[in-house]
């Protein structure tokens, strides 16, 4: 039951005049995610790979219930994002660069605050705080206001807070962005640990090496469409070079040809 199933979701955005200019298009609508489907299983790390603007973040936001798909559905451990969005939010830990922490508060205060909103009792919150804060090296600045933290420190605090309720589903959008190698490593190590605990982990990235080292399954999205989705091994086997980078470039090239024709 602890699978996460994305079923044929479509998400279209209306573009404002400003966005039309930015995207260099006259179209009023942008199909950000186009009939996307995949399933992630417990004990696995699923990697969403795609170039900038492919629709990775849009897909993850739909999973987190921040946005609703135009059609299709996502079933998170038996709960539908369309019908039981509250249940879904209780089961997932979601991280993206757009989810900011308030400058005025300290990581420690916010950890407790969000813990309470997840309905956890204070004793347990303190326990998890001790574990996660030492794990991500937050202890040194746990009582410093978020506004006074560096980008990397904020990212670490965000990660810890997104995991306050020990969620069964961990959905991280570019989790290692802005982190030094050391911290990036501690994050990826933790993701592997979560996987071994039997959690369902989904992460998005455009860094091929992260997928190569970390993921059990990979889905490559280009222009909102799932181009290929299989185990890392099978994806690699599908190409004579057996190299993820080659596959990635071939798919992009193929899409551009298709788009122009």
């Amino acid at each position: 039951m602890q699978t996460l199933e994305v079923r044929n979701i479509i998400k279209t955005f209306k573009l404002s005049k400003k966005q039309q200019k930015l995207e260099k298009t006259k179209e009023k609508l942008k199909v950000a995610v186009n009939d996307l489907s995949f399933t992630a299983y417990p004990g696995e790390i699923f990697g969403l790979l795609g170039p900038n603007g492919a629709g990775k973040t849009t897909c993850l936001r739909a999973i987190s219930t921040l946005i609703k798909p135009d059609s299709g559905d996502i079933i998170v451990g038996g709960s539908s994002v369309v019908k039981d969005s509250m249940d879904v939010r209780g089961k997932i830990g979601f991280l993206t660069s757009e989810l900011k922490l308030e400058d005025h508060f300290t990581p420690s205060y916010l950890f407790t605050y969000f813990g309470k909103l997840h309905g956890i009792d204070e004793e347990l919150i303190e326990k998890r705080k001790t574990v996660l804060f030492s794990r991500f090296g937050i202890d040194d600045f746990r009582e410093v206001k978020v506004g006074d933290l560096s980008t990397g420190m904020k990212q670490k605090a965000s990660i810890a807070i997104s995991l306050v309720h020990n969620p069964e589903f961990v959905i991280f959008d570019e989790p290692t962005n802005g982190l030094d190698v050391l911290t990036a490593r501690s994050v990826t190590d933790y993701l592997v640990e979560l996987k071994h605990e039997g959690k369902t982990v989904i992460l998005s990235t455009h860094i091929l090496s992260v997928v190569d080292k970390l993921c059990d399954k990979v889905g490559i999205i280009i222009n909102g469409k799932m181009k290929i989705c299989d185990t890392l091994e099978n994806v690699k086997k599908s190409h004579p070079s057996n190299d993820l980078e080659e596959i990635f470039f071939d798919l992009i090239e193929e899409d551009e040809l298709g788009g122009n024709a």
């Binding site: 946005i67 509250m86 939010r89 757009e98 989810l99 922490l101 308030e102 605050y113 997840h118």
Partner: protein, 397 residues
């Protein structure tokens, strides 16, 4: 349900009270500013009054009849008399124009014989209404001239002079309920100020708490927790309301403290202890309902706006509208009796506040005000909930 509301409330409240800058600008500053402003104003008005009172009037006179002159001496006026010289007439008028001389009073040479002969005599006065001392002197001497005119007429005609008299033997001439008169004064002044204070308190924090969170991207972090949007809405509205009440109370205390200074010189004695505990309780419940309505309006606008700046701009028309509503009562100082008035948000509060201050509360009107205000708050929270649920509103780029 209640737990999440309490959690959101506590955090929002803590956000303000743990920030020295916010405490100062939203809670201390309003009261302090009003106290200083009104004290200064009162002080200035008092000084002005004293200044005029203590000024030595400079009055030029010609042919003042002896009996009038004697009468003036008994009055103990603070004045210097100088005799008028006809050849310097134009120079004297120039001195009045520049404020060096306050008044010129000329009786005709034939004044006494005219009076005796029954000829209408014309007394000439020259003054400058643009100069405060001159204006004041003119007032003083016109009053005394009137008294003199009557005494002269009485001397000549005796009782027959009076066509009729008024209130010579009427002790109950002035029928006034002191408390009610004071209440009337409050009713003309306070409703507008109360609405203004509540509004400006809410305006100083509402946009930051909702539009600001949108702008800074922190609201999304809250929206991915398993908390109902309505709980977030209620938590925020409640904490904003409490802070707005603090802010308004601060302004209110500022006014009360500056009242004595504001009224100094006018010799009036005014205090709020004409009201009973029951009046205050009623006033407080109305304020509570009103602040919820105001915060509701401000929250909806702030949720709709993309930035703090946009929210502040969009709130302004509502702020002005509420001030206009408050002002409309300043002239009448009277509450409406039409029952439907008590269904209009904010306007109902203004009217019921007047009723309370003038001791004329009608129970149905009071209940209607409270119930309809709470009804509006429920509607506002439903709208706010919808706005929080809308991804277009929450994540528009």
């Amino acid at each position: 349900m209640m737990k999440n509301i309490a959690t959101v409330f506590r955090k929002e409240f803590y956000r303000v009270v743990s920030d020295k800058r916010l405490i100062f600008t939203t809670i201390l500053l309003p009261g302090l500013a009003i106290y200083l402003m009104y004290s200064f104003l009162g002080g200035a008005m008092g000084n002005e009054f004293e200044d005029i009172q203590s000024h030595e009037m400079i009055v030029y006179v010609e042919n003042v009849p002896e009996d009038f002159s004697d009468y003036l001496d008994t009055l103990d006026l603070n004045v210097i008399y100088t005799d008028y010289v006809p050849s310097e007439h134009d120079e004297l008028l120039d001195l009045i124009l520049i404020g060096e001389v306050d008044l010129l009073l000329r009786f005709p040479t034939t004044f006494n014989s005219d009076i005796d002969g029954g000829i209408l005599s014309d007394v000439l006065t020259y003054y400058n209404p643009g100069e405060k001392y001159s204006e004041f002197s003119y007032g003083v001497y016109m009053t005394e001239l009137n008294t003199y005119r009557q005494s002269v007429a009485y001397d000549r005609y005796g009782e027959a002079f009076y066509v009729f008299t008024t209130d010579i033997n009427n002790d109950e001439h002035i029928i006034i309920d002191e408390d009610k008169a004071i209440g009337q004064g409050f009713a003309m002044l306070l409703p507008m100020l109360i609405i203004m204070f509540l509004f400006s308190g809410a305006m100083s924090i509402g946009p930051d708490s909702i539009a600001g969170e949108k702008e800074r991207g922190t609201i999304a972090t809250l929206l991915v927790t398993p908390v109902k949007r309505s709980e977030i809405a209620i938590g925020k509205v409640l904490s904003l309301s409490v802070i707005s009440l603090f802010s308004a109370s601060s302004s209110f205390i500022g006014i009360i403290l500056s009242l004595p200074k504001l009224l100094q010189g006018t010799g009036e004695e005014i205090s709020m202890n004409i009201y009973s505990m029951g009046d205050f309780v009623m006033l407080f419940t109305v304020l509570l309902a009103t602040v919820l309505v105001i915060v509701g309006i401000i929250s909806i606008i702030s949720a709709y706006a993309k930035t703090i700046k946009e929210a502040s701009m969009l709130i302004l028309p509502f702020y002005f509208l509420s001030i206009v509503m408050g002002m409309s009562t300043m002239f009448s100082g009277e509450a409406h009796s039409n029952i439907f008035i008590y269904l209009i948000p904010l306007y109902n509060s203004i009217n019921i506040i007047i009723s309370i201050l003038t001791f004329e509360v009608v129970a149905t009107q009071y209940i209607l005000t409270i119930v309809s205000s709470l009804g509006y708050v429920v509607i506002f929270i439903i709208i706010l909930n919808k706005l929080f649920e809308s991804e277009k509103i929450m994540f528009s780029k």
